[in-house]
Symmetry: D3
Subunit: 275 residues, 6 copies
Amino acid sequence: MQFDIERIVHTALMEDIGLGDVTSMAIVSRDTTMRAELVAKEDFIVAGLDVAAAVFHHLDSHVRFEKIFLDGQKVKRGDVLAWLKGSALMLLQGERVALNLLQRMSGIATLTARFVAAVDGTGANIVDTRKTAPGLRALDKYAVRAGGGRNHRIGLFDGVLIKENHIAAAGGIAAAIAGAREQVPHTLKIEVETRDLDEVQQAIDAGADVIMLDNMTNDEMVRAVELIDGRALTEASGGVNLERVREIAETGVNLISVGALTHSVVAVDISMLFK
Amino acid sequence: MQFDIERIVHTALMEDIGLGDVTSMAIVSRDTTMRAELVAKEDFIVAGLDVAAAVFHHLDSHVRFEKIFLDGQKVKRGDVLAWLKGSALMLLQGERVALNLLQRMSGIATLTARFVAAVDGTGANIVDTRKTAPGLRALDKYAVRAGGGRNHRIGLFDGVLIKENHIAAAGGIAAAIAGAREQVPHTLKIEVETRDLDEVQQAIDAGADVIMLDNMTNDEMVRAVELIDGRALTEASGGVNLERVREIAETGVNLISVGALTHSVVAVDISMLFK
Amino acid sequence: MQFDIERIVHTALMEDIGLGDVTSMAIVSRDTTMRAELVAKEDFIVAGLDVAAAVFHHLDSHVRFEKIFLDGQKVKRGDVLAWLKGSALMLLQGERVALNLLQRMSGIATLTARFVAAVDGTGANIVDTRKTAPGLRALDKYAVRAGGGRNHRIGLFDGVLIKENHIAAAGGIAAAIAGAREQVPHTLKIEVETRDLDEVQQAIDAGADVIMLDNMTNDEMVRAVELIDGRALTEASGGVNLERVREIAETGVNLISVGALTHSVVAVDISMLFK
Amino acid sequence: MQFDIERIVHTALMEDIGLGDVTSMAIVSRDTTMRAELVAKEDFIVAGLDVAAAVFHHLDSHVRFEKIFLDGQKVKRGDVLAWLKGSALMLLQGERVALNLLQRMSGIATLTARFVAAVDGTGANIVDTRKTAPGLRALDKYAVRAGGGRNHRIGLFDGVLIKENHIAAAGGIAAAIAGAREQVPHTLKIEVETRDLDEVQQAIDAGADVIMLDNMTNDEMVRAVELIDGRALTEASGGVNLERVREIAETGVNLISVGALTHSVVAVDISMLFK
Amino acid sequence: MQFDIERIVHTALMEDIGLGDVTSMAIVSRDTTMRAELVAKEDFIVAGLDVAAAVFHHLDSHVRFEKIFLDGQKVKRGDVLAWLKGSALMLLQGERVALNLLQRMSGIATLTARFVAAVDGTGANIVDTRKTAPGLRALDKYAVRAGGGRNHRIGLFDGVLIKENHIAAAGGIAAAIAGAREQVPHTLKIEVETRDLDEVQQAIDAGADVIMLDNMTNDEMVRAVELIDGRALTEASGGVNLERVREIAETGVNLISVGALTHSVVAVDISMLFK
Amino acid sequence: MQFDIERIVHTALMEDIGLGDVTSMAIVSRDTTMRAELVAKEDFIVAGLDVAAAVFHHLDSHVRFEKIFLDGQKVKRGDVLAWLKGSALMLLQGERVALNLLQRMSGIATLTARFVAAVDGTGANIVDTRKTAPGLRALDKYAVRAGGGRNHRIGLFDGVLIKENHIAAAGGIAAAIAGAREQVPHTLKIEVETRDLDEVQQAIDAGADVIMLDNMTNDEMVRAVELIDGRALTEASGGVNLERVREIAETGVNLISVGALTHSVVAVDISMLFK
């Protein structure tokens, strides 16, 4: 993940700073040193502290950045997440990018933790999707893990997910699964999307490793889980929200995928205060 | 903006596809052609159709992409936003990235339009901030414009915004403004952040071009606007939400900046349906 | 794979051409058009014709490149693989890079095809490894497929392979498998390396999806296959060569991985003849 | 060469690791430190130890890497080439890339040394060609030097080599040499490819600095060397192998170019053993 | 600016060194350490010492580089600007690039200082243009500041300059200014190019923030300044040279832009002497 | 050279345009098409027309660009060099970058042509140096050729030039030449810098291919040329200007290198006029 962090941090700083922070360069002396704190303005699960550190270190390896919390921990309004010290010019230039990353990642971790808590004790795992902010997938998926969720495939390259269009192209679920089994590295499981119990039965017969239950009612899912009977992992997908997630988990599915974890992120509120 | 689109689209496709869509490559023939439609699953303001087209064209310049709506238009649930036709493999590989971009950008435009509508007739403009998704600023800011908002400075390089720390470093508002005036290109206005009427007065006296009223009450803003009396642009900032924005606009400020436009985006729901 | 081809072709051309082919630029007129043929100088399985085309198209989109064979086909000494026509300067500048790629890829396909033929009828699949030329993995692995082999995981990111060091770090096979199951995306199978039947038994008990039989004798492999009895895929690894591969396949293993396919490539002989 | 090493190492690590070594990240603690040794599994000439070190340092500047041999030295089966110590996660992630580079480079050095030994005492030099692995030319050519060979031109930009097509385009050897002399930087020698003694004579008359004797018999080469009589360097090219190279050297040519040094590399066997 | 320095230094070193300094690598031992001095061969204003340092540090972070002068200072023939110590190979490889940058930047600073001196006491500022060496704008503009000049907009993105074509497209000065005011970030001033007093009047009426007086005679400029009477900044542009610049400044304009500062740079003479 | 042009054009456009030409985007309709002419405002030798075309084509492949002159031709004040037609937005965005490149390159060609004319009939060639604008070497050297000059080595990688420091490191001219001969590709000539006739004699004895006469008087050069008597090429270097160049040429040297051709470029005056 370190190469992704480097790329993301570099791109974000270039985008924000360009040829320079004209305000600070005009006003702040190059020799001024400052100390600052990252302070939580509400309660949340923190994620991204190492990424925030990487922002300042990309600008200036001499900035000191000390974490007080670790990613995945719960913080309360008023908690100091980390403090940093270094050239005032560098602190001012990195502030916005560091906060943008930290606030988004903590927002993801916090929402994920809510979903995870909602299914507590059911045995179901909350997983993410590929509905991430373009360019930020590595961080979005890391933040899901920090919040207690698990990752679905990272991209199209590291997981097989046979959808409606693939089934149509192959001429049926059995043919699609056989085709994939024939071609993809043996290190990958074969997951197939199903819309009703008939398709679930076909997926079982074709030896799917994972069966996605797409937009099914809770009742349908209960029957699908019974039908599958441990021969494949089961994943509930579609229309999952905090209100409904517990009921879904109680159908006995193994995995519940939630697009909102990463496609509709509410940034948490964090300030960088100079001392 | 075209270079940013190229960079963003390239990065997002690399991130999602890597060495290839193993599922589609195993199942879908290289010669299959498909037609698909981008369909709105709710009402919203659309933004990003050209970017979605760029995703498919980056994969394959032969894909045909026809817009039916233009960015900034209001669409209703069920509307077809665009249709496209080309290699099934390319359509399947580009689908998720195109939707991720289009759903985020339309989410921004839609929220912006709500803020703009809320201040209708007051003369105030809604402006964005630098609280954007790292790497996506060009698109985030474009989407704000599509929703009827206006852009604040793009980054630290194209606008002067003197904040608390700068004032402290310079030894006062007057000194900070003078320092900036001395150094920055004459093409840039000088904006200064103020927290009370005393600071507003100092900013006026120092010849600020734009005065930010930071976290002030409506009453304070009314008095600030009177005090300034057209000698500088005024910008309300801090704690702005849809409930409160109309009142703020009625204080007479010229600009209202809203971080949530881009830091807490709710993706709109759009599907890509294959026909 | 198209992004990899672009990167590889661009890098190779930069490396070979730099500021220009000083010889051709001094002697050959910019307006001269030439026709050339790629001719096999021995019998082999061809792979890389589209990549060779990409070399010339990267230099000049106007070069015409017509394939006469398809990747994966057997060609005989004297066969014309493709012909091309275009600016003499571009043909001369692309020649070496195109041949270097085509000769290496065809060498891989040809060797792979020999291994595949050697196990014909046994049900075993020949798979590659990560022992590829740095930077060329996408092409090396594609060439293996062109030769009738199958791909193992592409890199460290899309497959789980628990080796000796992981087992030591985790404190045993069971703990290592459980740890991986807990953390990695559910789309990935868990493969574990074993060195004797005792470890094979542990891997079965821990529910491994794939069991690698590392440097075992044929007898050991026969017994391992019996022990596993279809509960996991089996992969023979270590010391595989053309002499021994048939016996290995007859032990009943599902997969035989061969590092030499890509780490010790003998380039086939191909000439580009100008007409 | 340092920029090439950086590029090659970065590309190779990205290719192999992508978003991360899912196995090691799941199983190995971030705090574990390990020691490992690079051990020769056969006799060979080593090349690439600094490049192997660069792989680990690119991942983590804190890894300690101590060479025990130097590039160009002969090592025996069982020799420890280098030892390294650092984060277990980093050692595991860098292992395959480091070995892939080191095994290929040592394979090139070893084969080169065999050719060099074969011509010992004749005064002829063994030189490489442009038939290198795309993207790896700097390392391939370095390894040739480590094996005691010399480099021909690096690419099309730093040497003039007038071939059949150039002669045809110019209308003869004399015209081609004159054209090149007129245009290319005076820092470059003019080499021309000849196929028989008549062409050799033309090359001499036109003042070629280097004359390549392409696919000539030993007898022809003897006569060519006599004819040239020190007025130009001579290079034997085409169909050179270990069996024939001594005879070729004894014809009196100055240089013998061998494509196989880099186009058909047999990787030497090296293991990385964790202690 | 640090990212620009990194890019420029990297590009320049790649361009000059490529695969290596063949001369030094053949002759100079890798272990030799050298000391060198950068010595002024004429009088000038120095600029670019940190950039020169960055060249050597990019090659080798162990090179010691000690500045004796600071950018913007006047140096005399014979002055030692800085001394450096490190690997002879690195010093030799960085020499030309460091000098090329330092000589150009000091040339710009020196010419700028002459223009600044010429208008001393008039209140006019000397500003640069976008007529910079492609790829080097950040350094060219920095050198102007080192010479006492000020920067006009950096590029098309951070300043509004309405020219003849824009006015034609908009249908007049008033419409063009109104259009820009409507669209561009409020952080940017609106500058408009005028060719006569009538256009100046239109610009005033439309509320331009800055009025460029393009290719006007001194008399016209005097009248324009009177007409504008402090309601906008004024910029003289076109045909400015050292002979005429004082007269122009005495017309009362605020800014005088000089393309020659960066488009026709005479490098100052600096040597790197090894001790 | 095409890869260099792509890199340079891309970098220059990014640098100038960034997120966009805010002025034109606000005022000029996306649908407006314009026609423009590149017009000479003085007499000069043109160079760079294809590069100027590449600027516009990089922005928009639909822009039509028709050259009326060819690089290397003499143009007179008022001549139209090329005309172009396309989206007004693209023409306005590319204008400055295209002119910056064309004006610099034509400035180099024009100055070179003056030096070439000054030595007409003497048999001496004017050559450039490595004193080019960082990042622009390929274009600077191309422009020298367009002006009738010849190129010295492109960088440190494609030519051997043994200077004072190398001689000191090697322990004398003979040792330095022998060391280089031993190591560098045989495709490169060996050039050595000499400061007096004694060193010239040493260079001859050591078999130098090219002898640089560094900062010698005309008399010394006459004697050096006699001494060398055709056994090596001769290059005059140091303190060459238009006044002195003819005398130098008449000493009988083969090459005269002129740093000012590229380190002190006076841009020619060219306008882009919209019709």
